[in-house]
């Protein structure tokens, strides 16, 4: 090693700063709220040889943690094979093909070659979630698509900017195929401008420290990130750890899909073997390879947030057995659910497998669904069509330190839900309730957090409701003796009659008229540890705050609560808990 560790640290911070500034620039200038407010975007630096991740912005959407290196790798291979055009300085490629290292079609990647002294030095790339890329339904989340063509416009890597100039012909093709196209030019310009910011900052860094020093630092940092990840992996006792996570259904065929995972610690590496998982499905709950790998990486980063985002950190992680399963779907399988839902089930499988060997770090399962509810209709008062999106949070899993957080963001996202008042300003709806989903937190020594319980009424005109969610059939898994959180429940009230979607958490185009209502009760988090060991005072507090009923306190936690004001009946509680102790067979975890 010729570089001193201080120079390494300084260059590491410098590379990180380049990416963070790209993230900031992209969000601030972006047009669509999905990027500007929800930060559904990511920016990074990728190697010229194989696209491997050099650095990525800290504020990027977690699900993109690993995807762009695969998308850049595909691009490099296609350029070598002559399937994509040779790069020129100031070109920017656009690509959203899921099978070329992507996620779903809405995540549009830009890649800009970065030159030093006339040589390609690395790639700058970013991804932004566009509000629409065409397809059967506005927004792209079709719950019943059976081929990718129904999901939107699919772009292979083509140069949208040629030597700095936006190609109006390609832009015209895109604009003719997507909804609300006039606003997209704002996102295109913001996405390209962010890469330009990155180029300027990276040039400054290279000018200051020298190209060779920085190159050497990049190689060294990659190696050290791997060392650091291996040091964390060393905390895990040798052995194999298995779990299964279930996707409710694919939206077309009403059968659950299994993610079967065995994590094996071998030496200082971890193998994530998904063999035995369900085959590719007919509906849009397929994942593509890049998204599956990225989901494993993001789950590991939730467990070890200290490790920098770098290709080196992923080196000790080996993913096997996805070929032939729905976690490695091939063209033309529909994939819109991969980034929002399947990715979260993969992360859940990782958490469920590793909570036993890493009980202090890993939580019980979080709600793990983005809760996409789309309402499309015509507002007669404003004389216009609209599409409203409501995303929702859910409970997080209990963990060694705390009860789970209530109404937390999706595992793979960092976006805030819009305020009710803004929704009502923009769309002809009235919310009747926006409340804690009482009783939903999975029982445990540390219970799961609570989901959300909202109900929204259509005020005028006609509309169609679509849902792409999950965890309707199975609640988020409890851990180490904790109970599962409550499942997701969708109820549509049409002319005063309740209707539950056949797929529970997924359905498309349910007709609504004025006065009809939609109620969504999102999942609670899984409980952590035996609920019968939860301090009775904590259970009393939950009952006092009407989070659980006294009956639930008795059944789930073995705590008897009586009287007004409510108090713990110590003798009865002791009896309940003693009886449970006696009844538990050694094998029964939950």
């Amino acid at each position: 090693m010729s570089l001193d560790p201080i120079t390494l640290t300084v260059i590491q911070a410098g590379l990180q700063q380049v990416c963070d500034e790209m993230d900031l620039s992209f969000s601030r200038a972006a047009f669509s709220p999905v990027i500007a407010e929800a930060n559904d975007r990511s920016d990074g630096i990728y190697s010229a040889e194989d696209g491997s991740l050099i650095a990525q912005g800290a504020g990027g959407l977690p699900v993109f943690v690993g995807t762009m290196q695969y998308s850049t790798r595909s691009l490099i291979e296609m350029i070598r094979d002559g399937r994509a055009a040779e790069p020129q300085p100031d070109d920017i490629y656009i690509v959203n093909d899921p099978y070329l290292g992507g996620t779903h079609l809405m995540d549009v990647r830009f890649a800009r070659p970065f030159y030093r002294k006339g040589e390609l030095y690395c790639w700058l790339s970013n991804t932004g979630h566009w509000p629409d890329t065409g397809g059967a339904v506005p927004g792209g989340f079709s719950a019943s698509a059976t081929a990718v063509e129904q999901e939107g416009l699919r772009l292979p890597p083509v140069r949208l900017f040629k030597q700095g100039r936006l190609d109006p012909e390609i832009m015209a093709i895109i604009s003719s195929n997507i909804r609300v196209a006039e606003q997209r030019i704002g996102d295109v310009k913001a996405q390209a401008a962010a890469l330009l910011v990155g180029e300027a900052r990276l040039n400054a860094l290279l000018d200051r420290y020298g190209d060779d020093t920085v190159s050497e630092a990049i190689a060294e940092l990659r190696q050290r990130a791997a060392v650091q990840m291996r040091a964390f992996i060393a905390e895990i006792p040798d052995g194999s750890y298995s779990s299964t996570a279930w996707v409710d259904s694919d939206g077309v065929v009403n059968e659950p899909l299994a993610i079967r995972l065995t994590v094996t610690k071998n030496g200082d590496g971890l193998t994530f073997d998904f063999a035995g998982s369900s085959p590719p499905c007919a509906g849009p709950m397929n994942s593509v390879r890049a998204t599956t790998l990225s989901s494993v990486y993001l789950a590991m980063r939730h467990i070890f947030p200290e490790v920098p985002i770098s290709a080196g950190a992923f080196e000790p992680l080996h993913v096997t057995g996805i070929e032939g399963t729905f976690l490695d779907a091939q063209y033309p399988r529909p994939v819109s659910g991969c980034a929002a839902e399947v990715s979260q089930r993969i992360a859940e499988a990782v958490f469920a497998a590793l909570v036993e060997p890493l009980p202090d770090r890993v939580t019980a399962a979080p709600a793990g669904t983005s809760g996409n509810f789309a309402l499309g209709g015509h507002d007669p008062a404003q004389g216009r069509d609209y599409v409203m999106y409501q995303i929702s949070g859910g409970g997080y899993g209990g963990n060694a330190d705390h009860d789970g957080l209530s109404n937390g963001c999706s595992t793979i996202g960092i976006s805030k839900a819009p305020p009710i008042e803004i929704m009502e300003q923009q769309f002809p709806v009235l919310y009747r309730r926006y409340a804690l989903h009482e009783g939903s937190g999975g029982a445990g020594r540390h219970r799961g957090g609570f989901g959300l319980d909202y109900e929204v009424e259509l005020r005028r005109g006609a509309a169609r409701a679509s849902f792409v969610m999950d965890h309707g059939r199975f609640g988020p898994q409890g851990a180490l003796g904790g109970r599962d959180g409550a499942p997701n429940r969708v109820t549509v009230w049409q002319s005063g009659k309740p209707y539950t979607p056949a797929h529970l958490s997924k359905e498309q185009d349910i007709p609504l008229k004025a006065g009809d209502r939609v109620r969504v009760q999102t999942p609670g988090g899984g409980g952590y540890g035996d609920p019968f060991t939860r301090p009775p005072e904590a259970v009393l507090e939950d009952v006092r705050l009407e989070r659980y009923t006294p009956d639930q306190a008795r059944d789930l936690f073995g705590v008897a609560i009586t009287g007004e004001p409510p108090h713990v009946d110590e003798a009865e509680t002791a009896a309940l808990r003693a009886r449970a102790q006696a009844a538990v067979s050694p094998a029964s975890g939950r």
């Binding site: 001193d4 560790p5 201080i6 640290t9 300084v10 590491q12 911070a13 963070d20 500034e21 900031l24 601030r28 047009f31 669509s32 709220p33 500007a36 407010e37 504020g59 977690p62 006039e182 606003q183 704002g186 310009k189 913001a190 401008a193 050290r224 060392v227 964390f232 939730h302 947030p305 958490f351 939580t363 929702s392 949070g393 997080y396 899993g397 330190d401 957080l405 209530s406 109404n407 937390g408 963001c409 595992t411 960092i414 805030k416 839900a417 305020p419 009710i420 008042e421 803004i422 009502e424 300003q425 009235l430 309730r433 926006y434 409340a435 804690l436 109900e455 705050l545 009407e546 989070r547």
Partner: protein
């Protein structure tokens, strides 16, 4: 009305550790200073101690301006008055559910405690829609019953927070009327009163914070005023708000939430004032203390004010406040070597207890302050003064073992590495703050204060390409100076949310007129002499379809729509380098700040002119070895209070004063000015 500001003014700022006082007597030119430990249970004791320590004659004082952390601490530690919420049926959990977030992007742990617990959040039938039309009338009997139930549960304050009250406050106003009939005190907060903007979580949290700190602030201010009067004080007490303006003690509790962040705001106000007098009107303030560093931006001598500040995770207090960002490292930030063999500094901090190793309170982990000590930047001879103190050798031993060994460096090399990494990280954080506010740091001077700011400022400025560093006369009591120089200030935000092409310009002008009139009326009620009244006008705009806002400053309120469009597009291009002339624009908020500017204060006595020496040689204390860029240099150390008025000093040099050390790096040149500031020219940018 007596002209109070021309007499003796005392600024008292209560911080987390110390209570600082500055008394400025404009007639005699006398300055008194004090720094005493804060008394956090009842901050009034510390205030009285400070007045005693400075030997202030309360009867002769004309005005006291007070910065307090009473409300900040109450919110952050959730030591709040028992407060109830009455809200729209179906929405009592809004304050607990938040916006679907988690504390950090990675890591699925975390917890959140709402300001008002669930059993004290009650619902009543009532509903407005977004146009302010009544959907469900207010159930007055249910409202009354809810109020009585909260009283029976022991609530001292109450919030009424109804959906869409910003569009039509009628239900909130009526509810407050009913509550006044039964509520035993004035602690009734209406959700729309502080913040009349849509977004129910943010508005609700702001109102809840206000209600929950109101009784505490009210009691505290009454007690303080009583103590002061007992000591013979006859003047008014003004309290600093987070917007950097002050407000009468008799009114401050009404809008108690506005005092959250008053401390950091006073520091920034002092910076703006000092900078304007020193002809450095564009400043990045850099306040580095023991545990954290605060950064703010000042343009044209006006601090950046935001009404979207989140004071901690899921705790938005959306009243106009000086936009102060905490960027992490402080003198107590801990350095360690991680599993990959790389040096990390922070975010873990040794805090005040045990603090850095060199405090001698049992700290055993290397910190930034310890590194400064090893490098000779902090005075090693001061260590011996501490009871049970440690030696530099002991600190070096820990550095060599904890950091040096894994990095392959000696103790000095390790200390240098800690400073280098810390400065790099702080510079990066400052750069991000400045870019996120649309500013290039190179267009600013760095205003360094706090205990540790002036030690690091030259290195940061060099890293950031900032040409000048300004160190004020009294970096350790900057917040108290901010109190003394603060103006009266009232900020107004009115949401109109109208597309520009549908906006009636008369409506816009009427909003500005109403805001101006209200602000001027409030200022006229204060017993403070005003030199002149200034207005700051702006609108918050966006392109239709966007969610974030861009503030467009206006020179005058009677702007026409074509000009507004042009100004917005120019501001947008300036910020994002993106031109979007084909898209319609929205005017969201109309903002006006009315500022009652007080008479100019003379700051030249902050460093006692009679204590100054005629030559640099006379101000010299010693020459000690200080480590820079891989080598030791003999560096002259001067007692700052003895420096001649307009000195010129080539770096490397150190100016030492009671509570701060100013480090002038090699290649930099320091100049003294009449107000006692040091302006450092940074030689050769990075």
């Amino acid at each position: 009305m007596t002209d109070q500001t021309s007499g003796a003014v005392a600024g008292v700022d209560v911080g987390g550790t110390f209570t600082d006082l500055l008394e400025l007597d404009q007639r005699s030119g006398r300055v008194r200073l004090a720094k005493v430990p804060s008394t956090l249970e009842n901050q009034a004791f510390g205030v009285m101690d400070a007045l005693r320590a400075a030997d202030c004659d309360l009867a002769a004082l004309d005005l006291i301006v007070h910065g307090t952390t009473t409300t900040t601490n109450a919110v952050l530690e959730r030591k709040l008055a028992k407060t109830g919420l009455i809200t729209t049926q179906g929405f009592r959990d809004v304050l607990e559910l938040g916006r679907r977030t988690r504390p950090r992007p990675y890591g699925m742990k975390g917890s959140f405690t709402p300001l008002i617990p669930r059993d004290l959040r009650l619902e009543v039938p009532e509903r407005m829609d977004s146009d302010g039309q009544v959907v469900v009338p207010l159930d007055e009997a249910a409202l009354r019953a809810a109020g009585e139930r909260l009283l029976a549960q022991g609530c001292e304050a109450v919030v009424v927070h109804f959906l869409h009250a910003y569009a039509n406050p009628a239900h909130e106003v009526r509810a407050a009327e009913i509550l006044r009939e039964i509520w035993p005190n004035d602690h009734i907060t209406m959700g729309h009163a502080l913040l009349s903007e849509s977004r129910e979580f943010e508005r609700g949290v702001t109102a809840a914070a206000n209600a929950a700190v109101q009784p505490l602030l009210d009691r505290y201010i009454r007690r303080l005023v009583r103590e002061l009067e007992r000591g013979g004080y006859r003047g008014d007490v003004l309290v600093m708000n987070g917007n950097g303006g002050m407000v009468s003690s008799s009114r401050v509790a009404l809008e108690a939430a506005k005092t959250v962040m008053s401390g950091p705001a006073s520091g920034v106000m002092a910076a703006a004032y000092t900078g304007r007098r020193a002809r450095q009107e564009n400043l990045i303030t850099y306040d580095m203390g023991g545990t954290s560093t605060d950064v703010a931006l000042i343009r044209g001598a006006e601090p950046t004010v935001s009404n979207e500040i989140e004071i901690e995770y899921a705790m938005p207090i959306h009243v106009p406040m000086v936009d102060v960002r905490t960027v992490g490292a402080g003198g107590g930030s801990i350095a360690r070597v991680d599993a990959s063999g790389l040096l990390e500094v922070g975010p873990e901090s040794a805090g005040a207890d045990p603090g850095p190793i060199c405090y001698g309170r049992g700290g055993m982990r290397p910190t930034i302050s310890d590194a400064n000590l090893i490098l000779g930047r902090l005075d090693p001879s001061r260590l011996n003064a501490v009871e049970g103190g440690v030696t530099v050798e002991a600190v070096k031993e820990i550095f060599a073992r904890e950091l040096g060994a894994p990095l392959g460096l000696d103790a000095v090399g390790a200390a240098e590495a800690v400073i280098r990494v810390a400065n790099m990280k702080m510079a990066g954080a400052i750069r991000m703050v400045s870019i996120s506010l649309g500013a290039d740091p190179r267009d600013f001077a760095l205003f360094a204060f706090g205990g540790a700011g002036p030690l690091h400022a030259c290195a940061l400025a060099r890293e950031l390409g900032i040409p000048h560093v300004l160190v004020p006369a009294r970096p350790g009591i900057t917040n108290a100076i901010g109190c003394v120089v603060a103006d009266l200030r009232h900020d107004f935000v009115t949401t109109i949310n109208t597309p520009l092409d549908q906006l009636d310009p008369d409506r816009l002008h009427a909003v500005f007129s109403a805001q101006t009139a209200e602000g001027e009326a409030l200022i006229a009620r204060e017993r403070v002499e005003i030199r002149d009244i200034r207005h700051i006008y702006s609108v918050d705009m966006q392109f239709v379809g966007q969610t974030h806002l861009l503030r467009v400053p206006l020179e005058r309120p009677d702007v026409d729509l074509a000009t507004l469009r042009r100004l917005f597009e120019a501001a947008y291009f300036n910020r994002f380098r993106v031109e979007l002339s084909d898209i319609r624009a929205n005017v969201v908020n109309v903002n006006c700040s009315v500022i009652g500017a007080r008479a100019e204060l003379d700051l030249s006595a902050l460093i006692d002119p009679t204590g100054r020496k005629a030559t640099l040689e006379e101000a010299w204390i010693e020459t000690r070895p200080v480590h820079f860029d891989g080598g030791w240099r003999d560096v002259p150390v001067y007692w700052r209070d003895h420096l001649p008025e307009r000195f010129v000093l080539d770096g490397p040099a150190i100016a030492q004063q009671m509570d701060t050390t100013v480090l002038i790096a090699p290649g930099d040149v320091a100049h003294g000015d009449g107000d006692g500031n040091i302006l450092i020219e940074i030689g050769g940018a990075a």
